[in-house]
């Protein structure tokens, strides 16, 4: 299966977040993920998009969010890029720590980590790119299919 790539360059609005979530739901289903898994992937993409629109670009109408999907036989890879001030993932507090449990915010990246198999951050100038990978069950982790008998 050849890779299928789709990307969107969107305004920093909540409508863009909803569009990203919808696209993720559709592509995850096409990639062979079941309804539960597709829902979790879509939520991860939604959370990353909210971070980009809200915390990265601060709804700035001059800044864009770029969301790229790559579908292969083995995995769905999603990158979300903003044009904000940058994010240091090491400084994101643990939402499960007792002192943070009742905080109103700070669970987005935690949920992305919980729902996706791999997550990487890349600093841009300016901005941040988060790349999330969900492997199709049965595929191995180096990008090649498991050997068949």
């Amino acid at each position: 299966m050849n890779a299928t790539r789709v990307s969107y360059t969107l305004e920093s609005t909540l409508a863009s977040v909803n569009k990203a979530e919808q696209a993720a739901t559709e592509l995850a289903a096409k990639s062979g993920f079941d309804e539960d898994e597709s829902g979790r992937i879509a939520m991860a993409v939604r959370e990353a998009s909210v971070n980009a629109v809200l915390h990265g670009n601060h709804y700035d109408p001059t800044k864009r969010v770029t969301i790229a999907f790559e579908v292969t036989a083995d995995a769905l890879t999603v990158s979300v890029r903003d044009e904000g001030q940058g994010l240091d993932p090491a400084n994101v507090p643990d939402p499960l720590a007792p002192e943070n449990l009742l905080k109103q915010s700070g669970r987005g990246i935690f949920l992305i980590r919980a729902f996706m198999d791999e997550i990487r951050f890349r600093a841009l100038s300016p901005g941040t790119e988060i790349t999330m990978v969900k492997f199709v069950r049965g595929a191995d982790r180096d990008g090649s299919k498991e050997a068949t008998q």
Partner: protein
């Protein structure tokens, strides 16, 4: 998201339906709980049975509602979680924070008299 409230045995039950997400249901939830608190309601039961989706902002709004009601001397409990919402509260360790029930009558009875 839609929200409507009714009172049973001194407990205000808020029936919520739809999505609790950033910019959608989270504002409705916040305003609903704020209005009830300003009316002096201190026993609030959020019925999430028809909530189809909740994101981290929605979770944050539930936590905020819980703490604001508690800080005002009241109690806020949850009723009828869907599997998705149940799973989300479990992985965020909030399942043990909230008082959660699947039965309306016993949830109402659990509020302090």
């Amino acid at each position: 998201m839609k929200s409507s409230s009714r009172k049973v045995d001194g407990v205000t039950i808020v029936d919520l339906s739809g999505r609790i997400t950033l910019g959608e249901g989270s504002v409705v939830l916040r305003d609903t709980v704020k209005d009830l608190s300003s009316q002096g309601d201190k026993k609030i039961l959020l019925n999430l049975g028809d909530v189809t989706y909740i994101d981290s902002s929605g979770i944050g709004e539930l936590v905020s509602a819980y703490t604001s009601v508690r800080n005002a001397g009241g109690e806020l409990k949850l009723l009828n979680l869907t599997k998705k919402v149940h799973d989300l509260l479990q992985i965020t360790k909030l399942y043990t924070v909230f008082d959660i029930s699947d039965d309306e009558a016993s949830a109402i009875a659990s509020f302090s008299r």
